[in-house]
């Protein structure tokens, strides 16, 4: 049985859309290709879509604004049949993959030989897809030696090639020799695979590696979906073509998470989604929710899953066609509700169409529409949103609510690579923000609003403790981001050691709480003794609070300390950062150069620079909070 991306909708106009897309210019064509990638397909169809796109690229090129990831797939068995699914999985997240498949079985040589094809390819990401026969199939195989060899590959990939490493876990293809207590026979191939997987899970985080957990997926889908001994014998394919779309989507999720493309907000419908029945008709006593009813338990399971997601950093919102008072009543009065009003960062219940309401939610939360996942039991509403807002993710829920959680979990919209303190506190952050907004509307002038917030801005250079969060922000901030340059952990760590580089992380607290790290800057001293601002990004949550001005004051002082006589600012336009087009102009920089592609360069001489007026206290930070992760 193939794994068929069951959360994606079928598309009746597949062939016509594919034919039409090829007539379009790159931007529009790839939007259409991406829309097609978001429909249900088997591996044959994925292969055809991939071939069509490759032909198109050879003829008409790729859209310039789409990020490209150079991905190397290394292993010791046949892997080429996985590439179409991987490219389509990345396309689903708006990413283009240029792929490299190492020569069969030579992955170690490829990693170490300075003249290898891999070294010439200069991968951003290396996926090590090692098969179970290779690692555990021989008589003398041991988990210790396999793990030592794999970790040596990680070191090479990271230190020599400066690539992000994704390690495929080992597929448990070996039959048991003992049975249920197989691990008591340590040297059996099945045991060795288990031990290797345990070791990979133990070492991945401290070694800075991400896992592609095919063993978990094979356990969910059934091993026979993922592995067929006949195909291994015929062609040394360990991963079955039937699983190739799932494999590609899983890898696509990881690439998406690395590039900040994971969804951020779960938007929930109410009637027949969060509870059974219609609150407006059935009333508080009539809706089906909680123990005592199988349907009621299914809805509770969705609520519980949503709440668990929110506790690890996913924002929750409600979008419902209802009178607001009716919609709120279960949250406030129904004893079985797991979700409470305070769990919902943005609550929209009215009679407008859902597409407009989703726009409203994205705007109020200050996140992109492509960060939203919209969960609704009604196929008509789903269809409307898909048509009006193709960038919103809309899972194709099964008819039985018992399947809602599984559908959402399989779709993997919220793939995350790390959990930071801020992720755990995000729900709190967004609620505090809503309270700030209400203070803003109750205070008449801006100045007194800012004073009432009693803001304190703390700054320091990048540090190892905050590194994960810094890399996360660099890779996911899209709107207030002057250059949208993405950096990996090793690259950022290298900047921290570079004496020509100034790095700044800023944290803002106010009477409502800690906003966390809200801005990052990277400046580089150039030969003209100017500090060129390579990266300036900020959280949109703190817009309109003079943080930009305060940041400039700090940066200017840092630049002077480094012997610089000017700041040079760069703006590079993307689809999402129009809001900062005038950023440097607003801060008093002079335009040096404006290019045809919309990018511009700006200068601010430091001689005679007087710090800008601000309404907050600024302090230099010494000690950042200790992280909860164990690896630092």
């Amino acid at each position: 049985m193939p794994t068929d991306l069951s959360w994606l909708p079928e598309r009746a106009d597949w062939a016509e859309t594919l034919a039409h897309a090829q007539q379009l210019a790159p931007e529009a064509a790839f939007e259409a290709f991406q829309a097609l990638s978001n429909s249900r397909m088997d591996f044959v169809r994925a292969g055809k879509l991939d071939k069509t796109i490759q032909r198109y690229q050879a003829r008409a090129g790729s859209p310039a604004s789409w990020p490209v990831i150079r991905l190397a797939l290394l292993g010791s068995s046949t892997l080429g049949h996985l590439l179409p699914g991987i490219r389509i999985g990345a396309l689903r997240r708006g990413l283009l993959v240029e792929s490299y498949e190492g020569p069969y079985g030579l992955y170690r040589q490829e990693l170490t030989d300075p003249r290898s094809g891999l070294q010439g390819f200069r991968p951003d990401v290396i996926c090590l897809a090692l098969d179970a026969q290779h690692l555990a199939g021989s008589e003398h195989a041991s988990a210790e030696s396999a793990l030592a060899s794999i970790r040596e590959c990680w070191r090479e990939a990271r230190d020599t090639l400066h690539a992000v490493v994704i390690q495929q876990t080992v597929l448990p293809i070996h039959p048991a020799l003992m049975g249920n207590n197989e691990e008591r026979l340590q040297e059996s191939p099945a045991s060795v695979v288990q031990q290797i997987n345990q070791g990979l899970r133990r070492h991945a985080e401290p070694d800075g590696v991400y896992l592609l957990s095919v063993d978990t997926w094979a356990a969910i889908d059934g091993l026979s979906t993922w592995y067929d001994p006949a195909l291994w014998n015929r062609s040394k394919q360990e991963i079955h073509p039937h699983a190739s779309n799932t494999y590609g989507d899983q890898l696509g999720r990881l690439l998406g998470a690395l590039r900040g493309r994971s969804s951020k907000c779960l938007v929930l419908d109410l009637d027949n989604t969060l509870w059974g029945g219609v609150i407006g008709d059935d009333g508080l006593e009539g809706i089906i929710l909680g123990q005592g009813s199988a349907v009621g338990e299914a809805h509770i399971a969705l609520q519980r899953y949503a709440r668990q997601l929110s506790q690890r950093g996913v924002i929750l919102a409600v979008c419902s066609k209802n009178d607001e008072a009716n919609a709120l009543s279960p949250f406030e009065q129904h004893a079985e509700m797991i979700l409470k009003r305070k769990d919902i960062a943005c609550f929209v219940a009215n009679w407008q169409d859902k597409a407009s309401n989703l726009r409203e939610i994205a705007q109020r939360l200050n996140i992109g529409l492509d960060s939203l996942v919209f969960v609704d039991d009604n196929p008509m509403e789903r269809g409307l949103v898909r048509r009006e807002l193709p960038m919103v993710s809309v899972p194709e829920l099964p008819e039985d609510p018992s399947g809602y959680v599984d559908c959402l979990a399989r779709a993997g919209y919220f793939e995350a690579l790390h959990i930071t303190d801020e992720d755990r506190e995000r729900a709190e952050l967004y609620r505090a923000n809503a309270e700030r907004e209400s203070l803003r509307s109750s205070t008449t002038d801006m100045g007194s609003f800012l004073d009432a917030l009693k803001m304190e801005l703390t700054w320091s250079s990048f540090d190892m403790v905050g590194l994960k969060r810094i890399v996360q922000l660099i890779n996911k901030t899209n709107q207030f981001n002057l250059t949208t340059r993405r950096y990996t952990e090793p690259e950022v760590a290298a900047m921290m050691d570079d004496e020509d580089v100034v790095t700044l992380q800023l944290r803002l607290t106010d009477i409502y709480g800690d906003n966390g790290v809200i801005a990052l800057l990277i400046g580089r001293r150039n030969r003209d003794r100017a500090l060129e601002i390579d990266t300036w990004l900020m959280s949109c949550r703190v817009l309109g609070r003079n943080v930009e001005e305060a940041t400039l004051n700090i940066l200017a002082a840092q630049a002077e300390a480094l012997g610089c006589n000017a700041l040079v600012g760069v703006f590079k336009p993307t689809k999402k950062n129009q809001m900062v087009q005038q950023h440097y102009e607003r801060l008093g920089f002079d335009l040096i150069e404006a290019s045809e592609d919309g990018s511009s360069r700006w200068v601010l001489p430091l001689r005679g620079f007087t710090p800008l007026a601000i309404r907050m206290q600024v302090t230099e930070g010494v000690q950042w909070r200790t992280p909860t992760s164990i690896d630092s």
């Binding site: 044959v44 292969g47 039937h242």
Partner: protein
């Protein structure tokens, strides 16, 4: 041809797998006649036929395939052996 319906289905699968709508199959068609039909594509092709026609080839059956005629013959034999499936395939 008595098994024309099998050729029709095969043609559809071949066209999709090789992304070429001009492919026309005869019993004599071999890998040499279709540009992208290499050993790697062959594996995918066989899995696609298995999936679309809801059959499963034995490893030994695949080792002696020389042309589309033999392939269609094996499929016909399999579909006849499973009449309930032949009706839905």
């Amino acid at each position: 041809m008595e098994n024309a319906h099998i050729y029709r289905q095969l043609e559809e699968i071949f066209r999709e797998v090789f992304d070429d709508d001009t492919i026309a199959l005869t019993p004599q068609t071999t890998a040499a006649d279709i540009e992208d039909w290499d050993s790697m594509a062959h594996i995918g092709l066989i899995v696609a036929i298995e999936q679309r026609m809801k059959i499963k080839f034995k490893t030994s059956e695949l080792e002696s395939l020389h042309n589309v005629g033999q392939l269609a013959g094996i499929i016909e034999y399999k579909l006849e052996a499973q009449p309930s499936r032949a009706a839905t395939a």
